[in-house]
Amino acid sequence: MAAPQTITFTEQDATDDFRQQYLVTYRHMLSARLLEDRLAALYRSGGKIVGGVYLGRGQEAYSAALGVQLKKGKDIYAGLIRDQAGRMAFGEIMLDTTRTYLGSALGPMRGRDGNIHRGRPKEGMPAMISHLGTMVSVVTGMLLARRLQGTLGDTVGATCIGDGATSTGSFHEGINTAAVEKLPLVISVANNQFAYSTPTTRQYACDDLVERAVGYGIEGYSVDGTDLAASLTVFRLAVKRAREGQGPQMIVGTLLRLSGHGEHDDASYIPPTMRKTALARDCVTVAEEFIQTQSWLSTAKLKEMRDEVRHEVDDAFSQASHEPAPDPYKEPWRALSSWKQLEGDTNEA
């Protein structure tokens, strides 16, 4: 197994096709950012949001850069806590987010589960459970079933995880199993320096988490996760190699969470000095500046895009906020899909 590589962007990579992808991805980043800004504001104003709010601020570039490589209806994308941008880039509609956060009965989780736990498994978006690390083997199983059924083709399955969750046994077992089966699993580690309040020094002792790739016998890449160009480059490569049958791909993006763990958390444990390093660059600003430096879009066009997105966000919130909440009297309270069959047999579900 080759040693892990650090991937950067070089001007030669700036093809036409790349520019297009960059701009599309940037728009998803912006969508995520504006949508989440609204979520945060609503959370703070109280009352509207059901439950907690967990943002991906600062991670949009890295998150969306993976989602945009994948095809909904073909590939699998299991976003985690901070993957609003990646989910959107994969094709999740805004209404799924707003409905879930606002507790609409019409959302994909129908009030039964909430916020980041949403998904549409039949559309290639598994719905994460809270227990960290557990989605790695689930996506692995999805890919395995495709292989068994002859439908794998060149599809890939991607799953995301944080630095903290790499300490779970579930992560280890999942990734090792994917490696043994040589499945096209793309595993994106967002090393945002903290797991809740816990710094990486209390989480692992290696220099870079990508060093784990060799031990699993899979390919690994490091990248600056605040840099959209580099992130697109690395995920393009990794997804391509997975599609080609090169087995699991581990990508570790380095960045900083630019919010609290949740909106209840002021993240005062993040040292101010760290906030002054390159880790703390705001990837949205960085991308915007890059677009301007490359003269890919004018300031006016950028503003236009921002306005468009803002409208979309407005619409998604306004629609969801007028929808009914779940009604406990209409809820069948059955945990088994076959409850009718089983109740036919006996007197309880």
Partner: protein, 321 residues
């Protein structure tokens, strides 16, 4: 043709693989080796692509099965021993059990747990975990006591659209035999009168059915007619059949091999007293294992679990009341 309980489990898996190309088997050493108990013997030879050896990763094994089920497959996962499912507990109760309710997408997986005690197996190769899994919404828990049920219930488990915990008893593997298999079995969720009687009802399941029948036979000599109800499925529980039996006998003893706090016997008694209190002529009784880990030495092991002898004694106590 005569086959054992273990062979019935193998045959059911063969049949499931044969009927439905979406079925596959996943577990440690189940391929060429045929499994620690040979429950998958030769199946890899017959279905080379659909019998897969897994790493020693119970959490991932369940996760893989769940993911596969979401893509339309029908996995049967073998835990090498029920006890090791403790390492897959989280995926079972939090991922598999909640999936349909949360997402509206069912999660049809079957998890085979070689369960229960045998002499010399000790604290970590003898456990009965049905009561643990039954506590959680979203799981079906089956506990076959006969060769016929081992076969039909395993096939039913695979065709059910929900996660099934299939608790097969290791003590029955080799010496429980049937001459042939009936065409069909009782539906899932239906209990069975293993032995009719009218003086007292014993509700039990899995290997304990046979201990209870033995105890009942023993009491028969003194003229007592003991009815033994085999639950077959501990979730759902067939309360109708139990209540009908208690209505006939007025007396209830619940017997299980699992630990004494909570579990199946407590659930059955609570159900019966809630709905059938007036049917009871005596306090309903329970008999479970002792409240310690399961001992390794056969001398201790025999004293730890219920046996025909102490079931008989409990019944005599109940009948005196």
């Amino acid at each position: 043709m005569s086959l054992t309980y273990l062979e019935a489990i193998r045959e059911a898996q063969y049949e499931a693989l044969r009927r439905d190309p979406k079925v596959f088997l996943y577990g440690q050493d189940i391929g060429q080796f045929g499994g620690a108990f040979k429950a998958t013997k030769n199946l890899q030879r017959e279905f080379p692509d659909r019998v897969l050896d897994s790493p020693i990763s119970e959490d991932a094994m369940i996760g893989v099965a769940i993911g596969a089920a979401l893509e339309g497959a029908r996995p049967i996962v073998e835990m090498q021993f029920a006890d090791f499912s403790a390492c897959g507990f989280n995926q079972i109760i939090n991922q598999a059990a909640t999936h349909y309710w949360r997402t509206n997408v069912p999660c049809p997986i079957t998890i085979r747990l070689p369960s229960g005690g045998t002499p010399g197996s000790g604290p970590f190769h003898s456990q009965s975990m049905e009561g643990i899994y039954a506590h959680y919404p979203g799981l079906v828990i089956l506990t076959p006591a006969t060769v016929e049920d081992a076969y039909h219930m395993l096939l039913d488990a695979v065709s059910l659209d929900d996660p099934v915990i299939f608790c097969e008893h290791k003590f029955l593997y080799y010496h429980l035999k049937a001459d042939s298999l009936p065409e069909t079995g009782l539906p899932i969720g239906k209990a069975r009168i293993a032995r009719p009687g009218r003086h007292a009802t014993v509700v039990t399941y899995s290997a304990m059915v046979h201990e209870c029948v033995r105890a009942a036979d023993e009491l028969q000599r003194d003229g007592w007619q003991i009815e033994v109800v085999d639950l077959r499925s501990v979730k759902p529980i067939d309360t109708d059949t139990i209540l009908a039996s208690v209505a006939r006998t007025g007396r209830l003893l619940c017997v299980g091999e699992a630990f004494p706090w909570g579990g199946v016997t407590a659930e059955v008694i609570s159900k019966v007293v809630e709905d059938g209190f007036h049917l009871l002529d005596a306090p309903p009784q329970r008999l479970n294992s002792k409240d310690t880990p399961i001992p390794y030495h056969p001398n201790l092991w025999r004293a730890h679990r219920p046996t025909a002898a102490n079931i008989g004694a409990a019944l005599r106590g109940l009948l005196k009341f």
